[in-house]
């Protein structure tokens, strides 16, 4: 049984560009959450998806948007990239009280 898988693992983008990150949850997990982890800090909650709807959102601007598909996989989109968006983006899938994290996508904005 595969765990949480994320793609791409590393990417470099230019300021002002847009990026899409993808996440496949662990089998049977219906809830996907996204976190941003800047260098030297703890992960910060971006938003959570359940039944294809954004259920709750952290303190992130509208440039950050997402989507969940019927198979529970999810995408995180960031528009108009800023240098400060450089971070590790983590996807977590959960079912009930159990949560698993993927290995993350390392985004560098230059």
């Amino acid at each position: 049984d595969a765990g949480v898988t994320q793609s791409p693992t590393h990417l470099i983008k230019t300021r002002g560009q847009q990026v899409t990150l993808r996440c496949s949850p662990k089998s049977g997990h219906d809830t996907v959450s996204w976190y941003q982890q800047a260098l030297g800090q703890g992960p910060q909650f971006i938003f959570q998806y359940y039944e294809e709807e954004e259920r709750q959102r952290g303190n992130f601007p509208d440039r950050f948007s997402g989507h969940q598909f019927p198979n529970y996989s999810s995408e995180l989109n960031v528009n108009a990239l800023l240098l400060g968006d450089s971070a590790l983006y983590l996807c977590a899938s959960s079912f009930g009280n159990t949560i698993y994290f993927g290995e993350g996508s390392w985004l560098t904005v230059v």
Binding site: T31, G42, P43, G104, W106
Partner: protein, 109 residues
């Protein structure tokens, strides 16, 4: 929002030593988890521990919910224990996590 503070921020241990990591939180929470982040970035859950004490091999954790703190004990540390340890509290029933800033642990041979 809930504040989560971890101490110490950094810890250097010689192989075989024991250590204690602390997590303080500012309000009552649904649950508390400890994670280990490996050098490649993956977070691995170590404990779900809203209260009481749990042990898993050389690791154990204690949460005193009434006093709003949790402790993670590492005994007989090994080089593979190196990494960043995070405490995270569940701030709602949907599992939203609020993380601390982490403790960077380096275990030297």
């Amino acid at each position: 929002g809930i504040q989560v503070e971890q101490s110490p921020p950094d810890l250097i241990l010689q192989e075989g030593a024991n250590s204690t990591l602390r997590c303080n939180f500012s309000d009552s929470v649904n649950n508390l988890q400890w994670f280990h982040q490996n050098p490649w970035g993956q977070l691995i859950n170590l404990f779900y521990i809203p209260s009481g004490t749990k042990q898993n091999g050389r690791l154990s954790a204690t949460t005193v919910a009434t006093e709003r703190y949790s402790l993670l004990y590492i005994s007989s540390s090994q080089t593979t224990d190196s990494g960043v340890y995070f405490c995270a509290v569940e701030v709602d029933s949907w599992g939203k996590l609020q993380f601390g800033a982490g403790t960077q642990v380096v275990v030297t041979p």
